[in-house]
Symmetry: C2
């Protein structure tokens, strides 16, 4: 098996597959309904009860025997005694004696013997006796038990992303908790002696730490959990010791993935590269811009190991790499049915050129009304201000060297 | 001013405006960057520093005076002494003496006197002296201070929804916290004597509480905060006392909106209706299906008051009403630039009929590839199992009575 550097640059797809392969499918955990939003259902959800659980009234009105009202009309009302009052929630519903009706509220159980509901609007709303001015069809305004679902039926299949309607359904069939796929936990490392925490004064030559903060947010937006470990030691042994300590843990903060940005330049002292090279993490190039220099692997920490993805340090490179490699891997690991960003076709407003042999991701703003996309900023990988105004990435294939105004381009939607 | 019931049914737009008018714009609070995801920026964000803050190298290589290398080539390399080693983060960068170069890493400050970077690949990578085999253009591989943004420039405008790139940008310009619009707080009430908590045994005539759970999740998915108050007292005075206690609070759990579902049937004893009628909350009809019976207003609680929206009790009616009235109102209140769900046009797969005079929202599944939408389930407002399989609402105008196969319909996207 040739090494990455021997084999030459990877395609975006090849490196995405390599990163995804580092993460196995996450296991199952049980969460209360209120915490299930956005989670992926781990097992099929079947109905513990039928819905509705019993025949019930679709209207406020009267439960009747339809045959007894066959001739009722405005001009020939039928008057019958009201034998019972049935609010919703009444659990001791008496059977309907022939020749009587029962006052009934929406959702209340239809009494045995009744076969139709007459809406209150078709009556004089009497409480002792009631005058009914319309002849109901048998079955009118009765919601049958099991009409929505029968008991035991599969309501949602494993892999469904849970939102308000799905959680409401689980509640409706009596489930207080749901089995969902565990979120991967990502340890985001911020390394670099030039970095200063936001809010602190900046010396000449220093910049504010932003990649770690940005990537931790991006991890959470992908549905995983993140912990940002800022300003880890620049000493290789101490750096490895910090990772070994985390990777050998057994709690929920044991990382499924360690994510770094920067620190992998050629030639210089770089803690990330020095601590990982030769220990299971490979570094190489991906034929893309921005984001060429990448690394990934399972870092051997002596007795334990942890999956690692190293992203380049320029903020735009870092975020584009996250979008291309890490986000889909995290979502696939937790069983998300759509790990990738939605991709749409749009017509380019303006012109773009792109180097041959490298897939380019340019920052864009999509106008959904006209179906056009315009570049924001330029190709420079340090232009985070432009990145922050973008809502999509314009995906230019490796073979593309120019795109003319109005030509179609593929666009990754970032804000959905 | 005529009352709602005198004026006749409201349109969806009229009732949406009435609910939105109950909620004033929320104020501003300051949150750490890590908590800013999904929040709406409350003030323009300006750059505290330029980006980049200083001229820096775009490559690992050597900082040079371009004029001194005018003739350098593979066949005629130029050798110069390496006067300094400049890693990223070095704050005491000496000026470059004529006739020397400085070894420099990506991101490190370009020394005074240097005007270009020669990438390490165009050299022998020497550390004492270096042989350079290419003549750089002045300015090559130098990222100029302020190229991305100048200090003081407005980077993001108030109203921007914050995600990873925007939060990364705030960090990059040194901001540890951001001013964001406060989330509205919603108190979701679950009322009804027929309701049983999921997980408990069900008696005949009882159903599981699901609307409150579903609506609380929907509120949080809209970006607001929710507290579910289950099984509130059925006694009108105690019910009002519970609300007065909450509404007169000053903490973050003081509700901006009280949301109820069900409990407003005509004719029967209904705590919500009885506690609110004549105290500032109006009940009436909206010309829509599902979700006709609605109510809203500012509930006078004697010395205090609170905004209330009452939704119908059938689960589908409840969720559709939330989508049509409450979600856009909550998002508008927190300054979201796009309060409404995205609406697209799709061709109907199959046929639909709809009653004249009522706007219908049917549950659908959109096939984005073919641009078609198919109904899930039927129009029945109790069919929550079908609702849970839908990813959109098919919006049929009041005047529409039938839609033929292949005709365009408006579709509200629920899962974005």
């Amino acid at each position: 098996m040739s090494t990455w550097s021997e084999a030459g640059p990877r395609t975006v797809e090849q490196h995405a597959a390599a990163v995804a392969a580092l993460l196995g499918p996450t296991g199952t955990e049980t969460v209360p309904l209120a915490d299930a939003s956005g989670r992926v259902l781990a097992e099929d959800l079947s109905a513990g009860v039928a819905l509705p659980p019993f025949d019930n009234s679709a209207m406020d009105g009267y439960a009747v025997r339809a045959a007894e009202l066959a001739g009722a009309s405005e001009s020939a009302p039928v008057e019958l005694p009201v034998a019972a009052d049935l609010p919703a929630g009444r659990t001791d519903v008496p059977a309907l004696e022939p020749g009587t009706v029962a006052r009934i509220m929406t959702g209340a159980p239809v009494p045995e013997g009744a076969d139709a509901i007459v809406p209150v609007e078709r009556t004089d709303a009497g409480t002792e006796r009631v005058r009914i001015t319309a002849a109901p069809e048998p079955g009118a305004f009765v919601r049958r038990a099991g009409e929505d679902t029968t008991a035991g039926a599969v309501l949602l299949t494993a892999g469904t992303v849970l939102g308000a309607p799905q959680i409401g359904l689980a509640a409706a069939v009596g489930r207080p908790v749901l089995p969902v796929r565990r979120r991967p936990h990502v340890l985001v490392l911020s390394t670099g002696s030039e970095l200063v925490a936001p809010g602190e004064p900046l010396q000449p030559g220093q910049i504010y730490e932003s990649n770690g903060t940005m990537l931790a947010v991006a991890v959470r937006e992908a549905g995983a959990t993140a912990e940002l470990l800022s300003f880890v030691p620049d000493d290789v042994e101490r750096f490895r010791a910090v990772l070994a300590d985390r990777a050998s843990g057994t709690g929920p903060d044991r990382p499924d993935l360690v994510l770094t940005s920067g620190g992998v330049s050629a030639g210089a002292y770089e803690v990330v590269k020095d601590a990982m090279t030769g220990h299971g993490v490979e570094f190489g190039k991906v034929a893309m811009q921005p984001g060429g220099p990448q690394g990934c692997g399972r870092l051997d920490l002596g007795g334990t190991s942890v999956a690692v993805a190293t992203l380049p340090g320029n903020p735009v490179s870092s975020l584009v790499s996250f979008e291309a490699f890490v986000r889909p891997a995290l979502r696939a690991a937790m069983g998300h049915p759509a790990p990738a960003r939605p991709v749409v076709s749009a017509r380019l407003a303006g012109e773009l050129s792109s180097p041959a042999g490298k897939r380019q991701f340019r920052r864009g703003v999509l106008d959904a009304t006209t179906g056009t996309v315009a570049e924001v900023g330029t190709a420079g990988s340090h232009l985070i201000a432009a990145l922050a105004r973008a809502d999509c990435l314009i995906d230019l294939p490796a073979a593309t060297t120019s795109v003319a105004d109005g030509e179609p381009v593929a666009v990754w939607l970032l804000d959905t």
